[in-house]
């Protein structure tokens, strides 16, 4: 099983998620991202290529990160998103705000 990883390069942070971003995993990432943003990161990429489950707590983390980055003119994107998760984020009206890119070419 692919595990969660946070990789920093200059002011870019890439968060590679495991199979889930749910209420159990969110506190760990909240802390890690808070530290990264406090130390100057202004671009964050969430890679969901291995992620099969996302719940409203996980969505809350993505939105909170986006909100924080907007305050410092930073950027957030969510890439390699499975169709089922894309549809969930679409239903929540978040695909534009979070710059969500699906795994396939279907959603551009």
């Amino acid at each position: 099983m692919k595990t969660n990883q946070v990789h920093r390069e200059d002011n870019l942070v890439t968060v590679t998620l495991g199979t889930r971003l749910t209420a159990v995993e969110v506190p760990e990432f909240q802390l890690a991202l808070k530290e990264q943003l406090a130390s100057g990161a202004i671009h964050v990429v969430f890679d969901l290529s291995a992620t099969e489950s996302l719940d409203s707590n996980g969505i809350g983390l993505l939105v909170a990160t986006s909100n924080s980055l907007r305050m410092v003119s930073g950027t957030l994107s969510v890439i390699h998103v499975a169709d089922s998760i894309y549809r969930l984020l679409e239903a929540m009206r978040l695909t534009d705000r979070l710059h969500v890119k699906a795994s396939g070419a279907t959603h551009g």
Partner: protein, 149 residues
Amino acid sequence: MSARGRLRGLTTSLRPELTEVDAFCRRVFEVQRLDQYRDSGFGMELLLREFLNNAILHSDAPKGKRIQVAVRGRPSGILIRVTDRGRGFDWRRLQEAPPDPEATSGRGLAIGRIYARKMRYNQRGNSVRLWLSPQPHKETRNENQSSTS
């Protein structure tokens, strides 16, 4: 519960801890992925997580009180019931639309409306029943409703 079985029914109680939700979802899907409802997997897991998490994180139940959960497979689909020991909440004040995109919380019930064919709370608001069709997530919300049982 055998992994060779069908998703006829699983009724249990969980400690009010988030890791219990993970364990329960695994138990359900050991059976469900071999079952006629396997195509409903994402929506079913999402609903289980949302409403069990709600009971754990937002209920005012006395500390340590267990949460009742039941999942039943029926010819018309799947029925999920989640009940906590709290005083409940006023589901009549729920908003129809998903929250503002800037909001960092408040999406659980919107998800219920979208992914469940029907969602009903009891009068007190501490027990919810969710019906899923055998098919995966449908985009329409027209059939969803919140009301008393």
